[in-house]
């Protein structure tokens, strides 16, 4: 068993795929735990209990999405703002689900699609689509169960232990999520000058909306929606993807 678990020898059974998923999920689990801990501290700040924070992470499994959710709760946002912000902030999962749907065996029972949906995150999706041929859903379940356990326990622990940690440590952990966001957007922008400009412009306009009079009155949730629709829409109009980039 130890000799044949290299990347070339793919599991032949559902159980084999599940085990491989559990193993491949370990680095994701560790990364999630650290970031979720910071998320837990943010959750505590807006008044969530450890149980609520745990179920938020289990239910949403989304870094930026949960972060936005906490901002909305903190700002006592209305239902429409909550739903529209959640849709916009998590719109990339919509894209990933579109892409993942192309990796599924049409013969696969539809029930799997309901379960797979819960595990569409940047990292789990990335590992799942890299599998050659059709995706065995049990592989995604293995990765998902391993990494989401780190995500949920990290969030709950952040709420509980966040109280005990000294101010300097809490302060330091508060930037973990932003670091993760930078690590998501900067590497692709490095290879694509247009993306780099797009990221720069988005940050600059966001700063204007944060500090300019009147514009700063717009809540942070709606700021994300408005700027995403405007800037990504303009980018798609000015610089639509070429046929090869689309394929």
């Amino acid at each position: 068993m130890s000799k044949n678990d290299n990347a070339k020898a793919l599991p032949a059974t559902n159980a084999g795929w599940f085990t491989k998923g559990l193993k491949d999920g370990i680095p994701i689990c560790l990364g999630y735990f650290a970031v979720a801990f910071a998320l837990g501290i943010a959750a505590r700040d807006v008044g969530l209990s450890a149980v609520q924070a745990f179920f938020m992470s289990l239910g949403m499994v989304a870094s930026a999405g949960e972060f936005a959710a906490l901002q909305l709760i903190g700002a006592a946002a209305g239902v429409i703002e909550m739903i529209s912000t959640t849709v916009v902030v998590n719109l990339r999962y919509f894209l990933m689900s579109c892409s993942l749907s192309q990796k599924l065996d049409p013969e696969m029972p539809t029930t799997h699609r309901f379960f797979l949906a819960q595990f569409v995150t940047d990292e789990i999706y990335a590992l799942s689509v890299m599998v050659p041929g059709y995706l065995c859903p049990f592989y995604t379940y293995g990765i998902g169960i391993c990494s989401v356990s780190g995500w949920c326990s990290g969030t709950a622990l952040g709420v509980i232990v966040g109280n005990i940690l000294p101010e300097t440590v809490v302060n330091a952990l508060s930037v973990a999520l932003y670091g993760m966001f930078l690590a998501i957007i900067i590497p692709p922008a490095k290879k694509d000058r247009f993306l780099l400009k797009l990221v720069g412009i988005s940050m600059a306009v966001s700063a204007l909306f944060t500090w300019l009079p009147y514009l700063s009155l717009i809540s942070s949730g709606f700021r994300v929606i408005i700027l995403t629709l405007l800037i990504a829409g303009a980018a798609a109009y000015i610089h639509p993807l070429s046929e090869e980039e689309l394929s």
């Binding site: 998590n90 309901f114 819960q118 990292e123 330091a172 690590a183 957007i185 306009v205």
Partner: protein
């Protein structure tokens, strides 16, 4: 917000994010072909995350200076290393270390 209101808010947002993920898997069995729509979806994550990161990162810490340092270290680390976990840790370390001096 009280506990009940928070729970209700969470349920609304959990159902919303689940719908975003499950609908394409259930109903989209073909590729999207519209070029504008596909380009728009391609750019969405970059704009959303950029807007959420700046200027929030420099306002998250107690001193703006340590936030600015975390941003610079984060940008450099994301550019040079790119590993999500490592970049997050380096940003935290920057704020922690600068907090000892500021």
């Amino acid at each position: 917000m009280n506990r009940l209101k928070i729970t209700l808010s969470l349920i609304i947002m959990i159902l919303t994010v689940y719908s975003v993920r499950v609908l394409p898997l259930l109903f989209l069995r073909k590729n999207i072909t519209n070029r504008f729509v596909r380009s728009f979806f391609h750019y969405v994550p970059y704009v959303t995350l950029a807007v959420m990161t700046f200027p929030a990162i420099i306002l998250a810490t107690q001193s703006v200076l340590s936030g600015v340092l975390a941003l610079l270290v984060g940008l450099a680390a994301a550019w040079l290393i790119g590993d999500m976990f490592l970049v997050a840790i380096l940003c935290c370390a920057t704020v922690f270390i600068s907090g000892l001096f500021l």
